[in-house]
Each structure stands twice: as C-alpha cells, then as structure tokens.
Subunit: 703 residues, 2 copies
C-alpha cells in the first residue's frame, strides 16, 4: 500500500502493542504477533546482482561489472528483475509458510561505498570509486527494485525494498572492520563518502539504509545520531528504515568499547537512530527501557517505521503460488537472454594489438588458468543459483565449435600446487605451457575469485580476510602465465577479478587483455562473444587500475588525497573510464549550454554501434582545493548504420558544485571546464587512445 | 622393451650400483643416478577410470559403474585409453623435464578388493562384491592399459603398467585402516578375497601389486611373506613389482606395532617382499643393512624388479612432444564419444512403473537435489580433469530443449541447511516442493558424492572417514525427497552413489529409480539419454542393494558368511545382477556342454537391442559348505533388428571349483547347476521381473 496509508496502519498497530511486542519487532527475526494478525517476518535478504541465497534466480554480473556498462538503464533492468523475480519467489515461499531468511522482500542491496582502496575485498560489490557513478547506478538500481513497471500497479506501494549500505565511510580493511575507526574530514565526507547515499535518499527514495561496522571519527555508525538522524533524516529527509550491519550493534560494545554494558550499547543504537538489529542485541532493549537507559518514544518510532515498510510491501495479499509459478516460468528464458546482453555490455577491453576480434576459428585453442572452467568465478559474492552457468571455456567452445580445445587449470588459484600430494610446486605448469606452445592462440583466464577477494569471514583460505595483499596476480598464476608467455607469442589474457590487478612485465608481452570481472551465469558466453567479434566491447573501467607500486598509502588511511582518479596525481596502468572498442561512433562536434553538453554523433559503419559517453568537469576556484576532472554524467548511445543523433549529457548541478572545508556543498564561484568523450581527459587515457590509433575525443577547451 | 631384455639390462645396472644408489631406487621418488644414465622417476600415478590427477584427460565413469556394464570390452577400452592417453601425456611432460608425481607410466590401478560391506567408502573404486566379476573386469582393464593395440608395437614392452590393489582382505573401515587386522579363514581367502588377484597375475600378467594398510591374521600385508612371496610369487608366478600402499610401511611400526624400530619395520617389508615404498620409510634401509637386519640380496632383487618394469616402459625414447600433441588432439573427440557410449552402458534402471522412457517432452520439468548440477558427483575419486562436464541437469536440458526447467538444490548434500546463516534447517525444501508441485515430472537427483563416500583423509566433512554410516540417504536429502513426493506423484529418482542406498518408505512412492553411480564427465548426457529412451538401459548391479536393516553385522567382521549375494540368506531390495531394460532380446532356448552354455537369442524388435547375459553356477557337495549361485561368466550381446545368434557363455573352470576348509581349490565332486539369464536366479530377482511383466529367464533346471 501507499506510504501514507501504511504509516497510518503502522501507527495504529504500534499503539496496540506491548513493550515486549514492540521490541521483538526490532530484531531482524521478527516473530509473529498472532493477536494482532501480524505474521512472522525475517528482514534479511540480499540481491546485489539478482535475488541471492534463496535458490533459483537470475545471476547477473557482479555490481562492479554492471557499473562498467556505464549504462544506468542496465542497473534499472537488473533491479527490476530483482523486484519482479523476488516478489514471485516470495509468493511461492509464503504459500508454503516459508518465512525464513532470504525469503522476504527487504533486500539489503545495493552497496554504494566508495572503492577508496583497490585492495578492498568487497570493492566488487560496489559501483566503483566515483561518487557520481555510484549514485547514478545506485539510483537506477533502487528504482528498478522498488518501482513496479506494470502501470496497473502504480497505485501499489513498494514492489520490493532496497537498502543503501554501508553507511558510511566503509571500505576495509576487512580484517579489522568490527572495531575500526574511519577518520575523514567534513570536506571528505561531503565530497566523497556521503554523496551517493544522499542521492539514493533524495532521488530514489530508497526504503532502507544500513549502518556499517566501523566508527566514523570515533562514533560507531550504528549509534551515530550525526549520521542516522541529523544527516540522513533531518538534512536529507529520509523516511525509510535503518538497519545495523549484521553484528554491528554487538560491535558497539565488544569491539568499539563505546558503551559499558550490552543494554547501553543497544540503547545507544536505538537512540542513535538504528531501527532494526541484524543480530540479537536488541534482546537487551527491555532491560535498557527498564533501567531508563532509553526512552520508549525511540522504540515507538522505530517500530512504526519498520511496520510502514512491511505494509508498503503488501505481503498479506493472497500469494496465488500456481499463478506465480506460471509467471516465473514464462520469464526465465527472457531473463536469461537479458542477462547475456547485460554481461556483454560489462566486458572491458583493456589492451588489444589487433589480435581481437578473432573472427576466424583457430584450428587449436589453448585455454589455461584456474578461472577458465569454474562457475564460482562467474557468481561474485551475494549471489543466487542459476539454472545454468556458462564458463569462459564453455563460451569459447560455443563460438568456435570446430576448433580443438586444450584446457588446463595451469595453476591453483592461490596455492603453489594443484595436487596436494605433489612434492613440487607448479605441477600443472608444464601442461599449460605445452598446450600454449602447440595451440594457435592461448586464452589465459587468470585472476581471483570471490573466495579470495571478498568479505571477512567469507574467505575460506589462508588469506584470512578477503582483502587483496597487493595488485599482483597470485604467485601461482603469475608463474604459470610466465611459462605460457614463454611458450607462445599469441596469448590473450582474460582477467577475472572484482577490481584492479596488474600483470607486471607480462602486460607488454600479452597481445590483448580483457577485463572479465565476475560476469554472472552467462558471463563466459558474453566474453566469448567479445572475443569472436559478435559483440563490440563497450564497457569502461569504474575503477582506476593502478600499477601496484602506486598504491603506497596505508590501507587504513581514509583521507582522500592521492586516492582514486579524482585525486590521484600519477599515470596509472589503465585509468578510470578507460576501455577500448573494436569500433566507435564518430563524434563530430559538441557544445555546452549551462550544465548540458550536446554531442553530434554519427554511425559511419554498416551495423549498429554503441558508445558510452562520459562527461567530466574540472572546477577551479581561488583558495579552494578541488578534485581533478570528475565524472558528472553518462549516456550510452546506440546508433543504427548511417544514423546521426545529438546526444545530451546533462550534469546534475549537485555534481558540479564544490565543497568547502566545513563540508558545505555550493556552486563553484570560479571556472568550470567540461570534457566529453568515451574516457576521461587524463594524459594516460590520451596516450592509450593514441596507441590504438584513435584521435582523441572532443577536447575540454572546446566546451 | 621386452621383459627378458629389460631384466637383463636391469641386472647389469644393479651390479654397477652402490648400496646407497640401490636403496634410493626403492623409494617412489627415485632420484636420478646420473653416472649410470638413469633419470629421476616418480612411481606414483593413478588411473582408476581414466588418467588421473595430472590435468586434462578422459574422465570415464567410476570403476563400479564400469563394472555395471557387465561388459569386459568396455573395461578393455577404458584401459586402452588410459595407456594411450597416459603415454602421450608422459611424452609431453618428459619433453619439458617434468618428472613429477602423476606424470609417469606406473598406474596404481585397478582396485580389485571385494566390496564385502556396502558401507565401505571406497567400494566404488572396485568392480563390486563378486570375485569372478572383479577378476573379469580387472583382467580386461589391465590388458587394456598394458598392451599396445597398434600391431606395429607388438614387439615393445609395456604400453603402461597397471597395479592390482590392495593386496589383500581390505575393505574398511577406513577410519582404522592403518592399524586394522583383517581376520579371514584359509577358505575365505581362497574363496573370496584372493581369486581376483590370482587371475590378474595369471591371466593379465599385471605389472604391479600393491600391499594394503591392514594386517591379515596378525601380519601387516606389506611385510607378509605369506602373501607377497609364497602366494604371489611362488604359487602364482608373479614376476612384476610390489609396492606398499602410501604410508603402509610406516604403519608397520606406528600402528601395527609389529616391529620395535623403524629400520626393522623397513627391513621386514623388504624381506616380506615389498619392493617399492610409497612413503619414506625405506630411507631406513641403509641402517637396517648396516645393522644386519636385512640381507642385501633382498635389496638387489627388489631393485632389479623395479628397473625391469621401468625399462619395459621405454621411457627413454625421444618424446617428440609436437607429434604427441597432434596425436592427442586427434583423439580427443573420439574419446569423448566413446566415454558417452560407455557411460550409457553403465546406467542401471532399478524401478520403473512405466513412466520411463519419457518420449514426449514435458512442458515443465523440475530437477531437484544436491547432485543435479555439480560436476564433482560425475568424477568419483582418483579422477582426471575433463574438458567439459555434462551434469544430470545439463543432460536433461539437452534432450528436452523446449521444456521449461526448474532446478533446485533442494537440500545440502549432508548439512541440514544450504545457507549457513539460516536459523532454520531445510531452507531449500519449500522451493523444491513448489517446483515439484508445478512441474509435469520431477527428477530428484539425490545420493552422495566422493567427498562423503570415499577414502579416509579425503573426506572433507564431519563424517571424518569416508565410510557410510548406513544405507540411508543423508537426512537432509531424505527430508527434501519426502516433501517432493508429497508435492508430486510423478517423481523419478536418480541415485548418484558408488554403492547401495535405499529410500525407505519412499521407494514405493517414486515412479522410477535410476542408479546413476559416479558416471564420468559425460554422465549427465548418458542418464538423460536413458530417460528419454534414446538408450535402452543395459547396466546391472555389481553389488547387492540391501535394505538397511539387513546389514546388521559388525563392519569390521571379515568372515564372509551372510555377506554379499554369494552368502546372503535374505531377500534384498535389489539383488546383485539386477537391472531393468525397456526392452530385451528373446531367449529361446539354452543348452550346456561341460562348462559352456549356449543360448539362442533373437531380436524381435525393429532396432538394435543389447542384453547382458550372466551365467551362474551352484555347486553342491556332500559335507562341504558352498556359496549360493555365483557368477561364473558374462557376455553382453547386441543384435540388429531381426537378427538371431547363439551366445556362448564359457565358465573358466577356476570359477566352478569348490574350496576346502584349508583353502584348497579343486573341482566339485558333487552337482553343478547352471543358470543363464540377465539376472541371478534368486527369489527377489524373479519377483522383480514378474513385477515388470517379464516371464523369467531360462530356468536352472533346464541346464
């Protein structure tokens, strides 16, 4: 139902509830209150890139890959499938009285933290290192989840509920996240860490916000009234629910030592503005109320907000499971196709000496590396279960059905040998090298997977926490790749990772590099379609790919200077915004009117071509430090053969503003310079463009 | 080179070796002796059902499944691919100076232990519970590995070396294998535990024999001159090499406490007849020699035998890796096809109320269960890496491309919930039940996998050792299957396991049961081809499928009475030798002449039909206990439409003999009754045949 009606109903219900009943509803495992007709509800659900952890669903590319599409429509499509598929699944579960975890409609996605540091294991859950891109993608995704597309449903409330996390200033290190204190200045908060949250609240009306594990400037975020009340509600007008990260309220006591007792820690969280506890600390709230550590009005308002969301989700309607199954079955093929097209839009070609596209089927193909034939690398983390997984090896087999395929694991993902019994390391290297030496072309599918690049506690190996130590390939794979490059001059690297990696001296030796990310269940097919040229790669990096030695700062330093393309001074390996196509639209001219830029584009080729346009702005103002050129708008344009258009890139004035030392965001009083292209206007991007024989895009001095 | 020439060369070389050099060659990691031109060699390699643990290879069905084909030609084909593919791989490795583990040509396969107890985790490595079937299959496999098929190679020595293991009286419990003492009478040894080894030595000239971990009647087998010298060499004429199971010589000291010092334990093994040490205990042999605990002549003869095998393998030839790669690539597709055809021959249909074959594509198919979509269950243990794996779900998708597929894991393989975070067990059951309820037909792919049914130490879960506790499905899966059977009346169970399981009260509820085993990388395709009727199932059980309560004996009791179909008195769920086809050849008459039985067969259908004939004999003799009807010969017959033939089943007189209490095997002085059919002549098989509307096969009283 609509928000206002839901809120009224919630308010009435809260009035009828006992203190015990109210407190019980603030746990994520909210029990039924039968006398009031309120069923049990488990709030915890996940849908980072498709409905997760509850069986069959559409497993889209991981968030970072989706962001690489530079196309918010794709995020909206993914969100929309989440909402629709999730709702169908919820009806089926409810019809069987399954109200367990991951079965509800409150999704704790998206993750819009800034990838401040390329080593952060959870960077791939986010849309990257740029606040504007994070916001654009996040807004599109949240709207997709929350808004019904079916016009007949416009009068309903929420299709499903999204939740922006982790609020705020949260990006590792994973190993110390439960007691970590992130230090950031007011300017850094306003300029980098908070904007995406602000936009999701203001532009997408996101239903939930999740506090993080860490403290910010000394205050645990789950008890921070500065963040959860003053900023979120008073300043931005947020009306949804807040939830702690799982275990974060326990951290207030156990790791931050911010309060002396468990009940005071729980009370501090509620008073700070945290409505729902993922964990069981709110079991201490009765004690806190009895001891006068908390006023009951805070409990009342929290429960009211929680019930409002539940009522907006209309979970009491007749589930009609047979009809839900029919609808779902009717959608499966369509969503699978959509998933492949989306994956194709996410692949980023980083290097190509001309070997790609490989239009003619080679007689023999070697496919080597531990990520070539496993489905885990397609999934990312927080994933569902696909009906079918197309690995890279499988995808290549599909596009070259006549070629002989020689497939070798080559190396363990990170251990120095594949067979535990082997007395010697590198026990698959000779096979991989032999295959490479014999084959006409070798695809080295190397990188990480979500069990070594992920969340603390998820990591099932000696890395202990999920962060990367550095940007190198694991030594096992680097050694394999060296042998393979020695055996063959025709090596194409497909990098599977959620963030920046670099190949060291092999970067020059290999003929092409494709950034494959964690590309979803159709990912191998998408990558193969790029390889053979069925698909023109149009993905661009939502992250800076640094040389490893450029990342010399302390991982726990949250000050922004020198970090991310907006503040970085050096020339990275591959810049934020960068990516190569096989072909491009022709940009003929561009002009600016206020914050809008108009670009005349033409497709001079004989088939449809797409190109992701990016608009950057550099603000300059006397006496104020401003970031480098930074992204303010994106627009992915697809033109039919011979078609012309004038593309518009309109920068939200929010993004062209400058931020003062005290955090005030206001219009720039100096000069704004605009640049439009399919990359950012940094020296390295220009250099890489020239290497590809491209003249640069429209120059900033034109605008 | 040929044995005699190799032996001469070995003898000459041993004469030139120092004591240290000789002892060094008795370790499985034999170092190079450069002054004598002898390269390093790692003896340990595996090829139970395809070349294992060394990267790309053809991954055939697990041994127990191969045995279910009742077709020795298939075992010969698999062995032949092992020899050929292994040799090509060895050439490629040698060309790169990779002489590591699993890269040589001495395969420690097959496992021909008798599956005395259905709980034994390694039962699936063997050919089942029958000595004759184990021998027939083992002989065919060993010949396939060792003999070149190419006539131009007939003058060469060994294509590769097989090794019969584990000698002897070895079949669990896995958890106590390192110090276990198997008790068996002389009659039991001759009648049940030793015959398959004897046949592999005498009929297949197997190159190696591996001693087991356990002791037999008080003597560790790796130090048992009764087994390794008197029986194996003196009585059977074995001329190959012997090797300890890995770590078994250490067990002589550490677990059997059979000797007081490490050097005496090592000396006892060599004196007992164990030539090669998988482990490092023979590092103590120098000390043993110096202390006079061992005579050097034992070392000399061991090294001579080891070098003879190495020279017979011709591993000094020019490896010509380019040529080897070409040959290999030329074979890959052919072997993949062969693998599928072989897998099809292994599938056993146990129950069918007429639902199968499912010729018309259902509109919607549910596929539920933890074994449906994972490739681990295809592999079995001791496996290689296939270029491609076709799971059951994938196979079904291939044969019904137009059907809607709903795939649910349904349950964890053995844990009570799929998602660790779930507060409640059974968190995928509602999905599986909903799918079953909606679909036209449901395939429940349940059972085990090699990580919970396998070898001690391999098992990566709470089961600790790899044995089964009982014959029930894991509780997680039983609960899921119950819900699925409640939701649907059209459930077909596909049991993935290496041995007997039973479904309890659900056995009556489900419409069909297919025993899928661990069917190799093409296994899902094979199972799907049986389901849709492209393939008529012709596999038969090489094991008794008991009701769980019938297995009431102590797992560690090796006395044979009441165990396996040869001694069991009850009516099992599915008997040894049993399996249903969709169609059969017509058996018109049969007659016997001595040990040979002639059967007139006719194909009255309009397409080719195969049927696995089995010949059983019951020996009766006054004053001597004899087994039940036991298998003495097999012959799988394929006839074209309208074709007639007279099939011959010739029992090797070895198998129709009786065994006295002292272990003497001699011709029967009483009555031999023969039975021929596609099952054994027990009451339960007859009952099951009648249920299928079949008249029984040829009666024993006819012969």
């Amino acid at each position: 139902m609509k928000k206002q009606e839901a809120n009224l109903k919630a308010r009435e219900l809260v009035k009828q509830m006992t203190r015990e009943e109210k407190v019980s509803q603030m746990l994520y495992t909210a029990p039924a209150i039968e006398r009031l007709g309120l069923p049990a509800y488990n709030w915890w659900n996940e849908a980072l890139h498709g409905v997760a952890r509850a069986g069959l669903s559409t497993v889209f590319p991981q968030s970072i890959a989706l962001s690489a599409s530079y196309d918010p429509q794709i995020l909206n499509d993914v969100g929309s499938v989440v909402g629709e598929e999730g709702r169908l699944k919820n009806r089926i579960y409810r019809s069987r009285e399954d109200r367990g975890i991951y079965k509800g409609l409150t999704y704790w996605s998206p993750n819009i933290n800034i990838v401040r540091d390329p080593r952060w294991g959870r960077g791939h859950e986010s849309y990257g290192e740029d606040p504007c891109l994070n916001a654009i993608m996040g807004v599109a995704f949240v709207k997709g989840i929350q808004e019904y597309r079916d016009p007949s449903m416009k009068d309903k409330g929420l299709q499903a509920a999204a939740c922006a996390k982790h609020f705020a200033v949260h990006s590792g290190p994973e190993g110390i996240r439960h007691g970590f204190d992130s230090k950031a200045t007011p300017k850094e908060l306003s300029e980098t860490y908070l904007p995406a949250f602000e936009k999701l609240v203001k532009d997408a009306d996101v239903a939930g916000v999740m506090s993080s594990y860490n403290a910010v400037n000394g205050v645990p975020t789950s008890a921070s009234s500065f963040l959860l009340r003053e900023t979120l509600r008073d300043k931005w007008g947020f009306e949804g629910y807040t939830v702690s990260d799982c275990g974060a309220i326990s951290d207030i006591y156990h790791h931050h030592h911010y309060k002396d007792t468990l009940s005071e820690a729980a009370a501090a969280a509620v008073e700070g503005g945290c409505d729902l506890n993922c964990g069981n600390m709110y079991g201490h709230l009765l004690e806190a109320l009895e001891k006068g550590q908390l006023e009951e009005k805070y409990v009342d308002e929290a429960v009211e907000r929680l019930l409002t969301i539940r009522f907006m989700l209309d979970m009491d309607e007749d589930p009609q499971p047979e009809k839900a199954m029919e609808e779902w079955v009717g959608k499966l093929r369509e969503w699978k196709q959509l998933n492949r097209r989306i994956a194709e839009s996410c692949i980023v070609l980083l290097k190509n000496d001309g070997i790609l596209p490989l239009k003619e089927a080679p007689e023999t193909i070697a496919i080597v590396g531990p990520d070539a034939a496993v489905h885990t690398v397609l999934e990312g983390n927080y994933h569902g279960t696909a009906a079918d997984y197309v690995t890279v090896a499988k995808g290549i087999a599909e596009v070259y059905p006549e070629s002989n395929l020689l497939i070798s694991e080559g190396a363990h993902l990170y251990k120095d040998r594949v067979e535990n019994c082997s007395p010697l390391p590198g026990d698959r290297i000779s096979e991989a090298a032999a295959f490479a030496s014999f084959a006409d072309v070798t695809f080295a599918v190397v990188g990480l997977d979500p069990c070594i690049e992920g969340e603390a506690g998820d990591a099932s190996n000696e890395y202990a926490a999920g962060d990367k130590h550095d940007l190198h390939l694991p030594a096992s794979q680097q050694a394999m790749l060296e042998a393979v490059c020695e055996a063959s001059d025709n090596v194409v690297v497909i990098l599977m990772s959620g963030g920046a990696l670099e190949l060291g001296n092999l970067n020059d030796k290999v003929r092409a590099v494709i950034q494959g990310w964690y590309p979803g269940s159709e990912g191998g097919r998408a990558i193969a379609n790029v390889i053979c040229g069925k698909v023109n790669p149009t993905g661009r990096l939502p992250l800076t790919f640094y040389y490893n030695e450029q990342v010399s700062w302390d991982f726990s330093d949250y000050h922004t200077d020198g970090k991310t393309y907006r503040f970085f001074k050096g020339k990275p390996l591959y810049p934020f915004g960068f990516g190569i196509g096989y072909e491009y639209l022709t940009m003929e001219s561009a002009r600016r009117k206020g914050n809008s830029v108009y670009v005349d584009l033409k497709n001079q080729l004989d088939h449809p071509v797409a190109m992701p346009l990016q608009l950057y702005v550099k603000a300059e103002e006397e006496g104020l430090e401003t970031p480098n050129f930074q992204l303010v708008a994106v627009n992915k344009i697809l033109l039919e053969p011979g078609q012309k258009t004038t593309a518009v890139l309109e920068a939200d004035p929010f993004w062209t503003m400058v931020v003062e030392e005290d955090g005030t965001r206001r219009p720039c009083r100096g000069k704004l310079t605009f640049f439009v292209g399919d990359h950012q206007p940094d020296e390295r991007s220009e250099e890489l463009c020239r290497q590809q024989g491209r003249q640069s895009c429209i120059r900033p001095d034109l605008l």
